[in-house]
Symmetry: C2
Subunit: 267 residues, 2 copies
Amino acid sequence: MQDVNAQAEWPAVSADEERPANSREKGLNRVLHILEFLHATQRAIGIGELAKGVNAPRSTTYTLVRDLVDAGLLEMAGDGNRVYFGKKLYLYGMAYMRGNDLLRRGRQEVDTLSHETGETSELCMLQSGRYTIVHSSPGTRPFRISSATGLQIPLPWTASGRLLLADFERSRIEAMISEEDLVLPDGRRLVLNDFIDDIARARVTGYCVTSGLVDAYTKCLAAPVFSAPGKVEATMCLVVPIDTSDERTGELIALLRERAARLSIAA
Amino acid sequence: MQDVNAQAEWPAVSADEERPANSREKGLNRVLHILEFLHATQRAIGIGELAKGVNAPRSTTYTLVRDLVDAGLLEMAGDGNRVYFGKKLYLYGMAYMRGNDLLRRGRQEVDTLSHETGETSELCMLQSGRYTIVHSSPGTRPFRISSATGLQIPLPWTASGRLLLADFERSRIEAMISEEDLVLPDGRRLVLNDFIDDIARARVTGYCVTSGLVDAYTKCLAAPVFSAPGKVEATMCLVVPIDTSDERTGELIALLRERAARLSIAA
DNA sequence: ATTGATTGTCTCTTACAAGAGACACATGTA
DNA sequence: TACATGTGTCTCTTGTAAGAGACAATCAAT
C-alpha cells in the first residue's frame, strides 16, 4: 500500500514491515500457519490440501509436517494421509490450563452457572484481536444454542466484545476492528462510532446485553472478569432466547455479575 | 525410532547418529525443545534461564520467544519477564480432544470409574516412547494418590506399560527401552527379559497388575483399550493401596476390563 | 492406452535465519 | 567505588533450510 516505489523487486529495503513480495518464508511461520489452518478446518486434512490451504510449497509442507508428526504436535489420522493436531498439543494445553487460575476457575464457574440456570454459558477472552470462546457449557434447553470452544468471531458481534475493549483507547479499537468485522452475519452493517459508544456504556454499567446480533433468536448477556482494577481479562456470558422476559433477564444478569466478580477476586 | 531422547540434551550425545558437531540448529527444533522444556518445568520461566535450559543461544531464544508470544503459543507471565504456555495451545489442545473420540470418551469413563470406585483412575497412552498419563481423576480417599496429567515415566515402571507394548516385536521394545528406564525410583533394577515376559503374559491375560514399583504403597491395575483388533491404543488403570484385598482387587479388575472394553468398541 | 490429478521422495541453489558478540542498561554484593 | 551477573536490543556473517522442480507411482475417468 505504501510501497509504491516501482523498481527492482528484490532490493529488500521495505523499511516498514511485511510483504517483501514472494520471498521465502521462515519455517516457524509456516508451522504457525499450519496450526491456525487446522484450527480453522477443525478436522484432519490431506497434506497436499494443507499445502494449498496455507499457500506453501508442497515439498516444504511435507518436511514440516513430518517434523511436527515426529514431535507429536501433529498426528496422522487413521486413513493414512491426513493430519490433525496431536497428543502433545493436548498435553501442553492441559498444562496451560493447570497453570492458569483464571481459566481453571472460570471453567468451573461457567459449568455450574449453566447447570443452575439451564442456559448456555461461556467464558470468553480476547485473543489476537478477536473474541474467543475459551470454554462453553451447553445448558439444558430442548433446543440448545451452543458454540464450539475456540471459535473466534468479530468483537462487534458480541456483548462480550464490548466489555473486553472497555479499557482500550479509541485509536487502538479503531486499529483492531476491520471493516468486515462491522458487517453482521445477516448483512446488516454496524457503525463504528455506535460500537465505541456501546463500549463506553458497558464500562460504566459493568455489564452488557445484545439482542439478535449474531442470529435473530438469541440475546447475549455478558459481565466482565477483572485481572486487575480496571483491566478486563475475560468475560462470562449467557446466551438466552431473545424472548426471555425482562424480569428473568434481570435476574440472570445479577447472577452473572456476581459470578464474574467472584472470578475477579484473585488475579 | 530416531530421537526419542526426552530431554537432558547435552554436548555429549549418545544418539545413534546425526550431530555434525556443534552445528546450527533449525529454529523449529529450538521451538520444540522450548515447548518440551516448559512442559517439564511446569511453570513460567525467565528467558535467560530458558535459553540455558534448552542449551540455545540467548539471542536466538529471545527472537523465537517473541515470535511464539506474538503467535499466542506462549504468554508472558504476570511479573513481566517469564514465559509459559499460551492460550493458543489450550485451544489447539481442546480441538484435539474434540476431534478424538477415544480421548473424549476415555476421559468420561475415567471420571465415572474413579467416582464409582473411589480410587484414582487414569487414562494412559504411548507418547514418544514413554508412558504418558493423558487424563487422571483423583478418587476420594483421604490420602489420595494422584499424578499430574502429561506426566511421562518409563514404561517398565508401570502396569500400563506392559499392555501398551503388547503388540510390539521384541526388537522394537529393546530399541525403545533404555538402560535407565529399567532402574526403578528406589534404585532396584529390572531385567529386560523379565519385562518382555511380563508383556507377553499381559497380552494373553488381557490385564496387568504391578505392586510397589513406582512406590512402595501402591498397586497398579491396568486394562487395554483397543483401537483395532490386536492394536492397543491406550490403557485405563486404577491406582490402589498395595494392601487392597485380593477379592476387591479382583472386582476392580473386572470392572476396569469391562470399561476398557467399552471404550474399545468404536475406533 | 491416454490423459490428468494426486501423492510421496529426492536433489540442488541461494536467500535468509541462526548465532556470536557487542552494547546499554539494570540489579546485587563486597 | 568497583565488580560480577542478568536482561533486552542490535549488528553482521555464514551455514543451511526453504523452495523449485524433476521423478516415479497411484488412482479415475475417458
